[in-house]
Point group: C2
Chain length 390, copies 2
């Protein structure tokens, strides 16, 4: 085999996803784009706020704007702007040397895992979980160990405590969650912090909490608690992919709590990991987000879609939790075999992702980063698919 | 230790480089920017061609321009533009599915090494070599094995043939070369191809040639030979960092020869590696370079600097080859200990990098991606440093 052994499986699953995309394209060609209901992708369709375009135009016209290398962890003025924003929002007392600008949250996660983990160490994460975590763990040469969540997709603290061993280096959480939309509350996060501290003491090895927060600003009626408040040994990572609809530009950052054990050393290692992986976060968009701290797309667009979709699916007879954040629904599959049910949905020209892909079998994921009318016009198909298995 | 064991050494060397940067800043503050001669960085100071700005402005004003996710290996229309350009220039008959858009040449190299190498396999590269190769080999979990070049920094084919074992998967070359500026000629590349083919047969394992070509367009009086012409099992990778002065934007690509063994499989694996590392090459700059195939900064600016610098150093008494490409000089250190000589240069406010950092001890690297006057005003200091060891 001319490619790396471990890549073979990765290529196979990627080719399954590609086949799904191609099926979507084939369906659009056959039935017309308006008659295909594609909920399979987490690619924001809401355009970036108009100030993004204005800022881009100003920067491109400004002779001081650079397209060259900057220090690998990012422009000092951009890291400072991020630190100031975090301090204003969360009063964490962070300094710019604890911020690393990254190629989105994926780049941030690769950086921090590379920095923290020796090959063969464990990353714990609650399931269902974002499918990319398998890939990032693979890149770091680490093991991804999943811990089932409660019925409502919240943290099962007992199960997490039972899952930690001397091999655990990192607990990785994602709230608001992809694929479930769950937002962890302060109480469960405090409980998590307590058990991580206890386990760190027990095993004589610091366990770090990594909080992957690209959907923090996409939340409805709740304030997403700041994980920095509950556990100092925390690294927060995020991107502007969803909050500014810039997913393809690969811009985000990681931020290390100033009281984290060996915070400076970790920041240094994460900056070096940056250099090793892709050198630096893209220059122009670093300069853009440096000017747009706190700016967010109009969340009401997503809220409206969530409400239409949840109501429609409930009315059709589906069982689902109404998510408090992100732009995904994760309904229960009416039959045990979620892969089979997703196939039945596709007969109604509806594209969804089986829960099994996220370590959450018996469910399926729907992204509502799509126009309202796609949601409305799909509801009849959802009814038919459900009736076909009743 | 809270960070990964293998990162400790990486962080130490990075902190040495950072100290050098900080020393540069300190010197500029102390002596004034005009009195410090910083030749340590390969960061193009020549601005991007004006058409880059124009293209950016047009794209940002165009509603069809996307900032969202595209297929992970890149926009189909951009990959097609690259394939068409390569076919026009090199008549290789490449198709767009064999192109992957990447986060610069570093991203491309990480992608292709991840795709091809099982952990523990060997990458062979001629020394002196670009210092980043150590890091990319580390990311892939592979071994970087260096082979000394001839006196003039050209390929020592006998040494390469002797260095190949059954553990070798990849031969990695970089021409025009960083740090030496050497440009390999067609004859030595043909010789390399022959020995790679013979070794592949001997060990029953295809050895791929990776040609890292970010300086291809920065060449003087020579046509850089196309490696695709000599060996079909070749992957070319490059970036627009130097040819369009966009180093900080992280935009480049890899291209797989259509006749390479299992070309499609490798393209698939490289695309998946892209996804795993940083998801995709930045969206806006993919769209920019899609429109600017074949555009290059004004090479005459670099040629002039090379000529002033080579003449000045030779006149001062330094021994050096006049490089045919890239924007580096790699003179012989007048004393054996290049680290010590670089320290002597810094006493003249001249910043250079010891050859030892590139696996080329007894030399030092000077980047002439700096204004002409920096070169001219430094020559007196170079003379003094040389005289101090005579």
């Amino acid at each position: 085999m001319p490619i790396a052994d471990k890549m073979v499986k990765m290529v196979e699953s990627a080719s399954m996803i590609r086949k799904m995309f191609e099926e979507g394209i084939r369906m659009r060609e056959k039935y017309g784009a308006d008659n295909v209901f594609d909920f399979s992708l987490g690619n924001p369709d809401v355009p970036p706020p108009t100030i993004v375009k204005q800022t881009l135009l100003e920067l491109i016209d400004d002779k001081a704007t650079s397209h060259g290398y900057m220090p690998n962890p990012g422009y000092p003025h951009v890291r400072k702007a991020v630190a100031e924003y975090l301090n204003k929002e969360y009063h964490v007392g962070i300094t710019s040397d604890l911020i690393v600008m990254t190629a989105g949250a994926a780049g941030a996660l690769n950086d921090i895992l590379r920095a923290l983990l020796n090959p063969g160490e464990d990353i714990l994460t609650p399931a269902p979980y974002f499918v990319g975590y398998n890939q990032y763990a693979f890149v770091a040469g680490a093991n991804l160990k999943t811990i089932a969540t409660l019925e409502n997709f919240h943290l099962d603290l007992d199960a997490i405590a039972a899952g930690i061993t001397k091999n655990t280096r990192v607990m990785l959480i994602n709230s608001p969650n992809n694929p479930t939309g769950a937002v962890y509350n302060k109480e469960e996060l405090s409980g998590l912090a307590k058990l991580l501290e206890a386990a760190s003491q027990k095993f004589g090895k610091r366990i770090y909490l990594i909080s992957d927060e690209p959907y923090r600003k996409i939340a409805y009626d709740v304030q997403v608690p700041c994980v920095f408040d509950v556990y100092p040994h925390t690294i927060v990572l995020t991107s502007y992919s969803k909050e500014l609809s810039l997913a393809g530009e690969r811009i985000g950052y990681l931020a290390i709590h100033p009281d984290a054990e060996d915070a400076d050393l970790i920041a240094g290692a994460a900056g070096v990991a940056n250099t090793m992986m892709y050198v630096n976060a893209p220059a122009l968009f670093q300069q853009v987000v440096g000017k747009l701290q706190g700016v967010t797309v109009d969340i009401e667009i997503y809220r409206k879609r969530r409400d239409i979709f949840c109501e429609g699916l409930k009315e059709a007879g589906y069982e689902l939790d109404i998510p408090k954040g992100a732009f995904y629904l994760f309904p229960k599959s009416p039959i045990e075999d979620d892969v089979k049910f997703v196939k039945l949905l596709s007969e109604q020209n509806i594209l969804a992702v089986p829960g099994a892909a996220f370590g959450g079998p018996g469910h399926f994921r729907l992204s509502y980063a799509v126009p309202d009318k796609t949601i409305k016009n799909s509801l009849d198909g959802f009814k038919k698919a459900l009736n076909s298995v009743k």
